[in-house]
């Protein structure tokens, strides 16, 4: 039997067009042996949830630099749940003000990473979250 690979969807919801961060993370996760499905820019929450469903991912990584995280994150969590994928761990990378973090965590976001976060931390925390 082949070993179970960790499958991660890396998505960029919303309208900002900077995907360098998402690509750096995608590449780092690849180098950590994960299978990363990269969806590209300007995804709606519906598109992200649909891709997560079709790809049967363990993790969704969202890159949000637009400031719209308090609208996008809960919507995506809600759609994942509606599809029966409440077990999917959702991580966010981007520009997230400190005061929003507790509420995002409360909603069920598994990890939040700002500028300067190390990819090793992200990889380790993804692995921990999955083995929990």
């Amino acid at each position: 039997m082949a070993e179970k690979k960790i499958r991660v969807l890396v998505a960029k919801p919303g309208l900002d067009g900077h995907d360098r961060g998402a690509k750096v993370v995608a590449r780092a996760l690849r180098d950590a042996g994960m299978e990363v499905i990269y969806t590209g820019l300007r995804q709606t929450p519906e598109m992200i949830a649909e891709a997560a469903l079709q790809e049967d991912v363990d993790v969704v990584g969202l890159s949000i630099l637009s400031g719209a995280h308090m609208a996008l994150a809960p919507r995506i969590l809600e759609l994942l749940k509606a599809n029966g994928q409440e077990d999917v761990r959702v991580f966010i990378g981007g520009i997230i003000p400190d005061e929003d973090m507790p509420r995002l965590k409360e909603m069920g976001i598994a990890g939040i990473y700002g500028p300067g976060a190390s990819t090793e931390d992200i990889i380790r925390q993804i692995r921990e979250a999955i083995n929990k």
Binding site: G33, M34, E50, Q54
Partner: protein
């Protein structure tokens, strides 16, 4: 979810169940195998279309447009399996074909699944054929399999698909590239994508002269590791000569004509018996592959690890050739054992 009910849900059209089953099958879990066995009688209905070609020729964009066409014009349910390479060093992969398929989002008649090649060469993953069976059983009428960006030898897709599209783009090579063996030989339909780019006439001329030099009248399969050729069914049926289509996948130019050729090819091989020949060959090589891996597994379950290591050491010391070593492992060494 118990597995029998998982299979049942897949047959009833539950997308989450389908997705989970695909994962189990891809991971070759025992549950996945059991489910495949249950689903197998429901397979054999879909038209399998392979799409291959060099990286950057626009395969994913073309698949996107073709799928839109099948949805809008023919209302057929379409499954897409998009294979991208795994890293040979870490086993990780970035699967990026969905980026070009965003138009297909929000349509329940389409299911896109990305697959990492997981160490397989030949342009597909080990379990791609099994995933095809799952989609087939789930009632998808068209299954498009997009290979990894292929070079010259990634011809595995021709064994899997009923109709193979080879996608070229202007400016990728001269006519010597076009007469080499391999990828061009497996084309049932040739596509020159990015036909708005300069050089398209040259590409077309090169491909056309290749087709005139020789169109295949034999079909080659690997059988017990040997290349075997089967005469394509003849003589009264006309030989299929791969048509050449020029497309611009970013705006849909030429897609309707391409879809028409694909349909004509399917009708052609159904009529001349090649459809059945291909099904046979595909299932035959699948059976062989499974048999091979099961025999290996059975062997490793039984052989003593120390004995295996000892024989291996002898090979490393150049005392035994690999052939002698295998002979000894399978039949025992008469001098030592009795």
């Amino acid at each position: 979810m118990r597995n029998t009910s998982l299979t049942q849900s897949v047959l009833e059209g539950n997308r989450l169940a389908l997705s989970r089953l695909l994962t189990q099958v891809e991971n070759e879990s025992s549950d996945g195998r059991a489910a495949l066995a249950e689903l197998f009688p429901h397979t054999g209905r879909a038209h399998l279309i392979g799409v291959t070609g060099a990286p950057g020729t626009g395969k994913s964009s073309l698949v996107n447009q073709l799928t839109l066409y099948y949805r809008k014009q023919q209302d057929k349910r379409v499954a897409i399996i998009a294979v991208d390479p795994s890293s040979p060093f870490t086993g990780g992969a970035v699967l990026g074909d969905r980026v070009r398929m965003r138009d297909l989002s929000g349509d329940n008649g389409v299911f896109i699944r990305s697959m990492a090649s997981r160490g397989s060469v030949g342009g597909l993953a080990q379990t791609t054929a099994a995933l095809v069976q799952v989609f087939d059983a789930a009632g998808y009428e068209i299954i498009i399999i997009e290979t990894v960006g292929a070079g010259q030898g990634e011809v595995e897709i021709a064994r899997l698909a009923h109709t193979t599209l080879v996608v070229e783009a202007p400016g990728l090579g001269d006519d010597i590239q076009a007469i080499k063996a391999g990828i061009l030989e497996i084309a049932d339909v040739l596509v020159i994508n990015k036909a708005d780019r300069p050089g398209v006439e040259n590409t077309e001329r090169a491909l056309r002269s290749t087709l005139e030099l020789a169109h295949p009248t034999k079909r080659v399969f690997r059988h017990h590791g040997q290349a075997m050729s089967i005469d394509a069914p003849e003589p009264d049926s006309k030989i299929w000569i791969p048509p050449i289509h020029k497309t611009i996948a970013t705006d849909g130019t030429g897609i309707a004509e391409l879809a028409d050729s694909i349909a004509r090819h399917a009708a052609h091989i159904r009529q001349n018996g090649d459809w059945a020949v291909r099904d046979r060959a595909r299932l035959g090589s699948e059976l062989e592959a499974v048999l091979q891996s099961e025999l290996m597994k059975r062997f490793f379950d039984r052989v003593q690890k120390e004995k295996y290591e000892a024989v291996m050491e002898q090979v490393i010391q150049r005392n035994l050739s690999p052939y002698e070593a295998v002979n000894q492992l399978l039949n025992g060494n008469p001098n030592q054992e009795k």
